[in-house]
Amino acid sequence: MVNISTTRSHKSGFLPRLKKNFIQHRSLYLISIPIVLYFVVFKYIPMFGVVIAFQDYRPGLGILGSKFVGFKYFIDFLTSPNAIRTIRNTIVLNVYNLIFGYTSPIIFALLLNELRLQRYKKVVQTISYMPHFISLVVVCGILKDFTSSYGIFNDLAEFFGYERQNMLSNVDLYRALYVGSGVWKDLGWGSILYLATLSSADPNLYEAATIDGAGRWKQLIHITIPTIMPIATLQLIMKVGSIMSIGAEKTILLYTPLVYEKADIISSFVYRRGLQEMNFSFGAAVGLFNSVINLCLLVAANWSARQMTGESMW
């Protein structure tokens, strides 16, 4: 939007400038045709489907035949006694995830980058990305076993003088276990992009810095971190822009009613509703509600990032 209003204030109009730009860079426009076509056909055409959030959608009647109910399902969700709690839990878990899940791959990549033993570095890298590939059902099974009252986590806790308990049923530990297992699963996987980016740093810069007598800490601050800054900023913007969404699968595998207070999130709530009664519209309405908030946050994050670092998504 900003973009259009500033172009209007220029001497020549938008269209003549576009025409000139087109003539000058014809091949760029040509290249963008298949890309735009893809987005229009496969992303924008199906978007008419959002109307089912405002309908009492019944597959047998189709979108054209189903009854419009306006904001019924949005109100249904927001007035539910569980709405506030699930929204709060979703946001809190995502904020934790932002603090730990976002930073840990960066720190891990930086630590790996400082490693001089090249072969060792490669082995650690390769091992660390393995948990990403193990199915969630199995990972959660392992976690349940470890946190049960006879599990290895309790052996450790007992050694440090704590009493044995079922840790997943402890409402105060649930979030730590949820976020912690996520960090563990995606630490190595998430660091790959940073490692790739670090390899593009100019070795001459490091050489020059060493000659100037800059220590490792200074090199880290002045060369290494600026190299990964654009990608790190981008990742941060994305994470902020998905603060309202977490998939239900992991929660469903880990939670029990005993920890609903901190564990029940929007998607698991919608899932349970789906078990009671098949309803496309309710899910679509909640999804749309989340997307709107996410998009607003994304726009805000993008704007602040541009102000602060000069990096942004658009």
């Binding site: 760029l28 400082e114 349940k144 593009s200």
Partner: protein
């Protein structure tokens, strides 16, 4: 590189080596657990408590059962097809998209970016996607797995960011020599961002390897086109207690069914077979994480 070997440097290095060793150990565990589980004797496995630090007994019966499953081999071939063709097609489109979006001189850069990002948040959902694919005649064909997901917007943005980190002077000098856009893209940008491209290829390949949802949706009548992960998922969620949480068809699978103890082992075997090949991709990607690629092309 010349380094001053100060004491604090050495302490840090030692600390770093140990810390990363511990992290590696923790990360190794789930894979080891599955691997050991797959060779364990089912009865001893059931009786075992705590972390699996060695196979409980040693049998290969689980693998024999998995390999006797006719669905496994067919789906293996399908997965390889989807990974190879899908990754190539996606990478090509992503390169084009990232290139245009990285050009300052391209006036529609910003509006296009906004249009693309918007689709990461709003989609019509399952039903219109399905209707579209079915109207385009792609239902129950391999094309349905590849074409509707041709570009992952997020990967395109990452690549664009990498392109923008390449000094503009490189492209400009090539253009002065009369190079066109495609030449600049493939001769200058691709070699200089090799590491990031390798990562994105891996993202696509791994994503495709692990993907099962599009196949479940777009190939309803063609089990012979299903990828490995869909078969794996069916095996994982069948009968196991945690699987049943996800599997709503529980009522159909008679509740009084009793499964053999061996099924737990079979599940581990299936995971190993479905995971080990893709784990081998990373070393090839890693090879490109070498400093100084950019310098090499500068000197050319």
């Amino acid at each position: 590189m010349i380094e001053r070997r100060t004491v604090s440097n050495r302490i840090f290095d030692a600390f770093n080596v140990i810390l990363l060793f511990l992290i590696g150990l923790i990360c190794l565990y789930p894979m080891v657990h599955v691997l050991f589980g797959s060779f364990s004797h089912p009865k001893e496995l059931l009786n075992h408590t705590g972390p699996l630090l060695r196979p409980m007994g040693f049998i290969t019966r689980g693998y024999e059962i998995v390999f006797a499953n006719p669905n496994i081999w067919v789906s293996y071939g399908n997965t390889i097809f989807y990974v190879v063709v899908g990754t190539a097609a996606r990478m090509f489109m992503t390169l084009l998209g990232a290139y245009v979006l990285a050009q300052d001189s391209f006036m529609l850069r910003k509006p296009m970016m906004i249009i693309f990002v918007f689709t990461m948040y709003f989609s019509g959902g399952l039903i219109p996607d399905f209707l579209l694919v079915s109207k385009l005649g792609m239902l129950n064909t391999r094309a349905a797995i590849i074409i509707p997901n041709l570009i992952a917007t997020w990967n395109m943005i990452i690549l664009r960011t990498a392109f923008r980190q390449v000094p503009a002077s490189l492209g400009e000098s090539a253009r002065l020599d009369g190079a066109g856009d495609l030449t600049v893209l493939f001769r200058i940008l691709v070699p200089t961002t090799k590491a990031t491209i390798a990562v994105i290829i891996m993202y696509y390949a791994v994503g495709e390897w692990n993907s099962w949802f599009p196949a479940a949706i777009y190939l309803p009548g063609r089990r012979d086109l299903h990828p490995l992960q869909l078969i794996l998922r069916e095996i994982l969620i069948s009968h196991s207690a945690s699987g049943n949480v996800i599997n709503q068809s529980l009522e159909f699978v008679d509740q009084d069914a009793v499964e053999g103890l061996i099924e737990d082992v079979v599940r581990y075997c299936t995971i190993c077979i479905a995971t080990v090949p893709i784990l081998c991709v990373y070393p090839f990607v890693q090879k490109h994480f070498v400093r100084g690629v950019m310098m090499g092309s500068l000197k050319e």
